[in-house]
């Protein structure tokens, strides 16, 4: 099988959500000492980009997106140790600190966003649920993150999103660290009102918004 064939199969495995094939091909890439950056960029990443396009066209829905993200993660779990061993760095990754705000223990939506961001090449630091508001800013500073993503599922806890933006402003960090908000009671108006940089209506939209902002 030619290199091009393997890369095309990797892309297809992600599009079709075939986890076995995605992991089998990742192992094959290691065995055959393929260029791992090429494997990621021209194989798997192309697949996940195509999945995003299919979602934009309304042909794919959340379950297909999640399945493809799972496949991407499964392949990366195999490739990552070798990448680290060889000290290979995948492009300049955009770093995201994500979590559900203080007082709110919902996490599945936030986990989906984290997983979609990771599948699309973002470096994701997941702080979990019920995260102290100051911790978001402290962690983002410490990790030199580009984004803070704040999830809130309650009308009471969504106020925490506003507070985090205020903390960033107080510390003069609001220009450098962008804030994306999401969650059931959140909408574009709320995002605008509190001065958030973006609003993710769903997991894939969050990815698209983050991509748009990070590309300037």
């Amino acid at each position: 099988m030619s290199k091009e064939d393997i890369l095309a199969r990797m892309e297809k495995a992600i599009i079709e959500g075939n986890k076995e094939e995605a992991t089998l091909l990742a192992r094959k890439a290691l065995e055959e000492r393929m260029d791992l950056l090429e494997v990621i960029e021209k194989g798997y990443v192309r697949g996940i980009q195509r999945v995003g396009d299919l979602w934009e066209k309304g042909e794919y829905f959340l379950p297909e997106l999640i399945t493809s993200a799972e496949c991407m993660k499964a392949a990366m779990i195999i490739l990552q140790p070798e990448l680290e061993k060889a000290q290979i760095h995948v492009r300049s990754r955009v770093k995201v600190v994500i979590g559900t705000v203080e007082g709110d223990i919902h996490d599945i939506g936030k986990n989906l966003v984290a997983s979609m961001l990771a599948a699309n090449g973002f470096d994701v630091i997941d702080l979990g649920a019920d995260v102290r508001l100051e911790t978001f800013v402290e962690k983002a500073e410490e990790e030199n993150a580009d984004f803070i993503c704040l999830s809130a599922l309650l009308t009471t806890t969504m106020l925490g999103q506003k507070k985090v933006i205020e903390i960033l402003k107080e510390k003069n960090l609001s220009q450098r660290i962008k804030v994306l908000v999401g969650g059931a009671p959140v909408n574009q108006k709320w995002a605008d009102d509190i001065g958030a940089d973006g609003y993710g209506e769903n997991a894939m939209r969050a990815v698209k918004v983050a991509q748009k902002i990070s590309q300037g």
Partner: protein, 199 residues
Amino acid sequence: MASVTEKIENLKIEFEENRILRLIGYKTRSMELKDPVKKLIDEEKQKLDHLLHPVSIYTILDYEETNKHPIFNGAEKVALCISTIGLELEEEIKKLMNKNEMLRALILDSLGSEAAEEGAIQSDRILAEKARKMDLWPSKRFSPGYGKWDIQEQRYVFSVLPGESIGVRLTESCMMIPRKSVSFRINFYKDKELSTRKK
């Protein structure tokens, strides 16, 4: 006067396929469900016999026994209820997420939300029936955090009902654990015109 708490344990949970599909993110009804997703839904449904433990507790108070919050105004009696499907399903969701099985986790989470809602609907029906047997007119059910009943009123509901007896507790921010739990009240009116329930 101490209120009497009753338990409802024989809740039969059934699922409407279309609602589950919507909950996991499908938008159009006409689209054909892809076989792998359908298979996952079926497999996760199979687990529910072991994972769902639906149970509710309720009490029916005379208006004078309540905290006389304005939303009880005009009611002869007020039914308060806490309904849950238990914690086991949430623990399974956590395990799935840790294993990178996000879609299975989402499916199970959606089934859990639907089950919790169904448990509340059935408990609501039982309480509405009790109102009618008392020759009173039940309102629709309302949960703390909706309309003029602030989320903080969860504390009142839990001060009246022993949530712990069915394994439900409140966090500092008034969220319920297990998350797949619903608390609500129904006002029982003498005057049919005050009831907002259609049937």
